[in-house]
Symmetry: C2
Subunit: 413 residues, 2 copies
């Protein structure tokens, strides 16, 4: 499979769930893109003064443009609105020196429903999409920000929640000891140990849910929501793909409900390939209407790297499956007619334009990764054909067109 | 069909001929994008000074980035290299005031072959692609710049060729009289009349070729090339789609050989939806290696407008073909399991997350353009199902899943 085919499969999966693509402008006024972002964002955004003296920027993610899209189109949109967006974004690591990075993001969201069914749909769509592209079995680790906050109240650390979330988010990177130290510095040794106990993953989804519900002060809407989502998983027959992991917090401020990360079981060390969560009010910056939603983002570059190291993705887009060699340049029209018959059978087929020596045409096919070369006769559509299998350096001779197509399609020995 | 499906069919057509997609950065140094462009280009380019004080710009076409790509990757590329590129470009109509337009271009080229078979392949690919997307029959009008130049020598106007080409290029817009006047001012009345006679379309491809060959001083490599291309058309069985039209010149300076424009027979007044030509040396600005090629560009916005006015394209991307209504929110997991069975049959199916009144869910489906709503029982996977046909306000009751899928697919009355 190729990169483009991979993206095509991801899109097909989104479409099968009724998600529609949207598009937004690459270039916006900086004040619109920055909004309340500030801080980290401001350092990374790629920003200019245009020749009209206006302060503009290239989008640095697809979330902010989506928020703006919602504010603009909200009233006409059928809610819940399910969209996906696969497009480029730009970040400057050090815009003072004019450096920037251009990469592709892949976001999908349901807005306008606060239902746990919407949370579950996003989780199911992550699982289905990753498995549909051939990434093998996945494990999706989820948690609930609100339940975590209730627990922080129980241990009197609610005011430090932003800092605590950031420290916990880095647990996998920094390790247990360093995390304990940072948390102790912030909240005292006792609270730090209770925090580490809370975020530890042990036992089943149900056991963990019971334990953290108790630690957070007992049953509450947040624990009920996790229980609903769990019931949906079981009913849909995919319970074994999901782990309740109280250490998942996600760094970003706007998440308020469930949050999750997704790992490929064959290559978990590469990190989460798809993450997201529920937010209360995404369009709030641009609109008075409150739109809650739930969404996720596939880390396409990381996913592609993972698929490549699993040997399931070719680095390069390939050329045709077959090529018609050029024996006599005057026959160019008939060669195209012959290639047309082969294309009709679903076989991408190119036509070599110049009557170079056959061995040079075979080398060209090899360089392009084209496995089959057809050597036509003087009357390409009616004379018997020769088929060259490039890898084996083997010729099949005196073939009818039908037989030749059968060999290429592997239905004929 | 939707816009995205249209672009997908265009890509599939390119792939079937062995063309591969390439990608290039959106943002480049202005000096790289501008190169020898100057003039018109300079006025349209969207250009900034970044925070590092560097002069950068957004790409304004896909030709210049392709030239740069060739200069960079030329030595590794298997020649002839066949590529396509569908991506956004930016032009500022008046960059002093910071206005810009963002739109999508769609280019395809064969570089590294000077053969008439490559010229013909691009022409055939235009015809096949336009017909494959359902744009109906097309007429592709072609001409040869080099032959035109030979004719200009015959009438002693070779030095004015750039101006003459520009005037002739506007013939359809300005009309015969105004064109005659402009040409007379430039070259004198006699030359102007001979020019108008030369560019008139009359008679068959073969008649026209004989006439303009004679006017250009007799048989020459350029007339031979047109004759070869014509033979290829006949041999490939698509001769009736092509017209030799000596008034086609294309405005752009870099074309040196065949040039062409393509019109939809059902709506020719919309203008050319795909134009291009052969160039001698595209990468010359960036590389010492000379790479000749032939290419074309689909005017996607114009083509989409044409398809819409022919009623063959919906303006908006549509949602799913079916939706599972929510009767009991606790059944969300089973609803997804049911939808999963329907998706397996190739039917995009969404799941409504909230147990609103059924009539409200029907309204939502209508708003989204979803034609079928499935009303599940208490046990969605085993209980009989009801299917609502939204447009007809009609229910099909007590259906098995198999029967329901048959109705949606239209294989069951």
């Amino acid at each position: 499979m190729e990169r483009r085919a991979l993206v095509g499969k991801i899109e097909a999966s989104f479409r099968s769930f009724g998600f529609v693509p949207i598009d937004t402008p690459v270039l916006e006024y900086a004040e619109i893109l920055l909004g309340k972002g500030g801080g980290e964002t401001e350092k990374q955004i790629y920003r200019f003064t245009d020749h009209g003296g206006r302060d503009v920027a290239l989008r640095f993610d697809l979330t902010v443009p989506f928020a703006r899209f919602l504010a603009e189109h909200g009233p006409e949109l059928p809610l819940p609105f399910k969209r996906y967006h696969i497009a480029k974004v730009w970040r400057g690591e050090n815009t003072q020196r004019g450096r920037y990075r251009e990469f592709t993001q892949c976001d999908f969201d349901i807005v306008g429903s606060d239902s746990p069914a919407a949370d579950f749909e996003i989780l199911l769509l992550i699982r289905n999409t990753l498995e549909a592209i051939g990434a093998g079995n996945v494990t999706i680790r989820l948690n609930h920000r609100g339940l975590f906050n209730r627990f922080l109240e129980q241990i009197h650390c609610r005011e430090s929640s932003v800092d605590i979330l950031r420290i916990v988010d880095k647990l996998a990177k920094t390790g247990r000891e360093a995390t304990l130290q940072s948390l102790s510095d912030l909240a005292g040794r006792d609270a730090a140990e209770r925090l580490l106990d809370y975020i530890e993953v042990r036992g089943s989804f149900e056991d963990t849910l019971d334990r953290i519900t108790e630690a957070a002060g007992g049953a509450c809407p947040e624990s009920e929501r996790l229980a609903s989502i769990r019931r949906f998983m079981i009913d849909a027959g995919c319970g074994d793909r999901f782990v309740l992991d109280p250490s998942i917090t996600r760094g970003l401020d706007y998440y308020t409900g469930v949050v999750y990360e997704s790992f490929l079981n064959e290559i978990p060390e590469i990190g989460s390939v798809c993450s997201g969560g529920r937010y209360d009010d995404l369009a709030g910056l641009y609109s008075r209407e409150k739109l809650s939603g739930v969404g996720s983002s596939i880390g396409l570059d990381r996913l592609i790297a993972a698929m490549e190291s699993l040997g399931r993705l070719r680095g390069q887009d390939s050329y045709a499956l077959a090529a018609v060699a050029c024996v006599n340049e005057a026959r160019g029209g008939s060669y195209q007619a012959l290639a047309g018959e082969i294309r009709k059978q679903g076989i991408p087929c190119e036509v070599f334009p110049e009557a170079k020596k056959l061995v040079r045409q075979f080398v060209m096919a090899e360089k392009k990764g084209i496995p089959w070369v057809i050597i036509p006769g003087e009357k390409p559509l009616t004379d018997p054909l020769t088929l060259r299998e490039i890898a084996e350096r083997r010729d099949f001779e005196a073939l009818s067109l039908e037989k030749l197509i059968g060999i290429i399609q592997g239905t004929n020995p």
